[in-house]
């Protein structure tokens, strides 16, 4: 049935079954993607999906359920399951169905220009990248991935307290992974970006970036395993920041799972570290004018001059701490329950570019990528020991590619040991960082 009718039926039945406050959140997504392999589109994918999540309050408890089917059976399923779920909940602090903020940002996160790019144009673009990839160096033997995908999402939040919010976003994602071979040595290099600015992508630059990276990894050598000064290149630093971002969530703090507990107002990072959460970041993948509870979002400093200024809150954690929500209520999708997460979260860039940092470090290691971040890190203790790829730096110059290594340390210590923040801010989805110079980390090289 039509979503408007479905919503009416759900609210009707919900009231009958005893829900006092109710909310329906829907996500409508359309996507189109294609992959190129040796001049041919070898995979093409399109989708149109609708997902509905229901939240309802009964006797002070919140029940959740979701569905991707909008038939009459699903009306019954959604409301009845939510009721059973609400009866099970034993948590003390209750969620609220929000009446609305006084004012919302009116930023636009939809690019009409992107919408106008035809599928033929996208395929031509991929073909151009492929041509450039093979033309760049004869050691290129193939590609793992050469894909473009675009998607458009419409979010709608409606509740029984009169709040009705809508948001529409789109973006395009490009992913390129090339393979180079020299003798028996095989390496790959990647380029990936998610953006709303299609024309910021240039075939030649993309190809050059991926191939150069793959080539630079050839002739990898070993080096002594010991403590080194380490430069984390922008995307690697962003990936590490993403992995440890839960430490800033009030939810984690309240569960006693973050060592930042009780440290508001204190110096938790080196002086020149400045981290912001910016829901209005123009090209951000998590940009939006309202959060998953319907609160107005806002930009905020999380760490400034090394001092921890705020945790990230939704209304539930805010109530516990007796503060205002920071507009960071988050649902991974309509399938999730309300939690806390950053919007676009990044370290503000400073002056020096990567070559400056390399010159400054003298002898050390440049880490360009991490692998296995989901398993080699402990966000509770801050400890990490992660596989990494990168280069040896000697006398202020990048010397040679290194065999696979592990980089071990503690994230809380690392924040204090950031000696220099670079100028080259780059995002890995919603998380961004410039390159960072870290005083010392334990490195083991194969």
């Amino acid at each position: 049935m039509r979503i408007e009718d479905f919503q009416e039926r759900v609210f009707q039945l919900g009231k009958q079954l005893g829900f006092t406050d109710m909310e329906i959140y829907t996500e409508k997504v359309e996507s189109l993607g294609c992959k190129l392999y040796k001049g041919e589109i070898d995979s093409y994918q399109t989708s149109e999906t609708l997902g509905v999540s229901f939240r309802g309050k009964m006797d002070g408890k919140m029940g959740y359920a979701y569905t991707e089917n909008t038939d009459e059976d699903s009306v019954q399923y959604l409301v009845k399951e939510a009721k059973v779920n609400s009866l099970l909940i034993e948590e003390d602090v209750q969620e609220e169905i929000f009446k609305g903020s006084e004012q919302y940002g009116d930023h636009t996160f939809y690019s009409e220009e992107l919408n106008d790019v035809s599928i033929e144009e996208k395929i031509e673009f991929l073909k151009e990248i492929e041509k450039e990839v093979y033309a760049f160096d004869e050691r290129v033997t193939g590609t793992n991935t050469l894909s473009l995908s675009s998607s458009e999402k419409e979010k709608r939040l409606v509740n029984s307290n009169g709040l009705e919010l809508k948001d529409r976003t789109n973006h395009i994602g490009l992913s390129v992974s090339v393979i180079v071979k020299q003798g028996k040595e095989v390496k790959n290099g990647v380029f990936s970006r998610v953006t709303r600015n299609y024309h910021s992508l240039a075939a030649k630059n993309v190809a050059e970036h991926a191939v150069k990276e793959a080539l630079s990894k050839l002739n990898a050598e070993s080096a002594d395993s010991k403590n080194y000064s380490v430069i984390l290149r922008n995307k690697a630093a962003a990936a590490l920041l993403q992995t440890f971002s839960p430490i800033f969530s009030a939810e984690q703090i309240q569960k006693g799972q973050s060592l930042l507990k009780g440290r508001l107002g204190q110096k938790v990072a080196a002086e020149h570290v400045h981290i912001v959460d910016d829901p209005f970041y123009g090209d951000g993948v998590r940009s939006g004018n309202f959060d998953s509870e319907g609160y107005a979002t806002r930009k905020k400093d999380v760490i400034k001059d090394g001092n921890l200024l705020t945790f990230l809150h939704n209304s539930i954690t805010a109530k516990k701490d007796n503060v205002e929500s920071t507009g960071n209520a988050y649902k991974a999708s309509y399938k999730g329950t309300i939690t806390v997460a950053p919007s676009n979260f990044y370290i503000i860039p400073a002056e020096k570019d990567l070559p400056d940092l390399v010159a400054q470090v003298g002898d050390g290691i440049l880490v360009t990528s991490f692998s296995g971040l989901h398993s080699g890190t402990n966000t509770v203790s801050g400890d990490f020991s992660i596989a990494a790829g990168g280069f040896l730096i000697e006398n202020g110059e990048i010397k040679t590619a290194l065999k696979q290594m592990t980089v071990a340390g503690n994230f809380f210590d690392l924040l204090q040991q950031i000696e220099e923040v670079g100028s080259d801010l780059e995002f890995s989805l919603a998380f961004g960082s410039p390159s960072l110079l870290i005083k010392e980390l334990a490195v083991t090289i194969e």
């Binding site: 041919e40 589109i41 070898d42 995979s43 093409y44 994918q45 399109t46 989708s47 149109e48 999906t49 609708l50 997902g51 029940g63 959740y64 359920a65 979701y66 569905t67 991707e68 089917n69 699903s74 399923y77 959604l78 399951e81 059973v84 779920n85 099970l88 909940i89 034993e90 948590e91 193939g142 793992n144 992974s177 393979i179 095989v186 390496k187 790959n188 395993s225 569960k255 006693g256 799972q257 399938k335 999730g336 329950t337 692998s371 296995g372 398993s375 080699g376 402990n378 509770v380 203790s381 400890d383 020991s385 596989a387 696979q404 290594m405 592990t406 071990a408 334990a442 083991t444 194969e446």
Partner: protein, 463 residues
Amino acid sequence: MLAKSVIEDVLTAALQTGGDFAEVFAEDRFANTLLLRENKVEGSLSGRDFGIGIRVFKGFQSAYAYTTDGSKEGLLKAAYQAAAGIKGERNVTASPLVQEKIVSAHSIAAFPREVEKQRKADVMRKAYEIAKNYHSSIQQVGIRYLDEEQHVLIANSEGKFVEDKRVRSRLSIQSIASDGNQMQSGYYGPGAHQGFEFMESLDLNHYASEASRIAVTMLGADPCPSGKFPVIIDNEFGGVIFHEACGHGLEATSVAKGNSVFADQIGEKVASDVVTYIDDGTLANEWGSLAIDDEGEAARKNVLIENGILKGYLIDKLNGRRMGMPSTGSGRRQSYRFAPTSRMTNTYIANGKSTPAEIIANTEHGIYAKYMGGGQVNTTTGDYNFAVMEAYAVKDGKIGKPLRGATLIGNGPETLKLVDMVGNNLAHGAGMCGSLSGSLPVNVGQPMIRVSEMTVGGRKGEE
């Protein structure tokens, strides 16, 4: 779920632009997740996933469209969208659908949807009590309960029409221990292709105590040294090393285009003689088991490596075309939102001849990895890494002090050749595996094994 006549129309529509094969995958899944912390049910979520994926092939080309609109109009629209990805004139007609009956080796006694949620919460409370009371240093325990009933329908233009219902249950226990200065965690997450009977017969004492024991043990552990050592990896979830080191590299996804280090190696010696590696989706009621894969092919036992010789790959239909090899019943996907590709089911190293005691006694100086965390592999280069949840130093043939923060890195093909002892205590452990076609339940398994040399990374530095 969908009428046969509608599916026939959809397949016909999907073939209109010259496709030579079309397939419909429909899914209706009911899932429940419950979360208990500090002995209180903190979350309970139910959901119904529903959607249809339509796939068209033309030679090596494939097009895929998916939708949550199950009406005939919605399906035809998706079929046209998939067809738009293929260029040509109609030249294949869909065969009439013939219903296939499957006999599942995975019988289900108690379907989760028929079990009251309070009973599920009771299991969680029991596990909580055991884990929390294990030791005074246990600060927090989180229990996650998950069950799902996934009804799938797979039909294709070759006349296949088959349905299956997959039921899975899993209980995860995470314990956090603290001594005031530091926190360490332990985890155990048993799961099965079974209904609520799995929860009722689960040895909660064992799993909940182990999760807490690991956390408590790690509190007293030294930072792991780094360097190159012989590494002993225990059975069950220890098998994650081969999942990363060679399982992914044997999937047609990376083999078909020649990008895997194992491409064109059939019949070649790729591992030491003591290594036999098997993927078996037919193991009764195991977490990674299936009656049919997501392309409607019967699950089977595939011997991948036998006594060190590469015997076969894991193959799905599309990659099979490029390789000129038939499907091995390995086409899997997380949901209708993903086109299927070759994936593992229950993958394990077969039993060898050594006893675990012999393996340890034969190791002069090394690392014993009792429980593994997760890992990752680059299938192009074969480089892998994974974390060790519970590790110990081994000295003079004896297990010594516990070590924390150990990460193992290496290269899959090289590691396979360095396996020098294989134990006789094969067991399987449940995990989730992420790849092109989404996140899937898989088992990893092995007996205790020893690798003569691995690179171990830790915070302590070289010894």
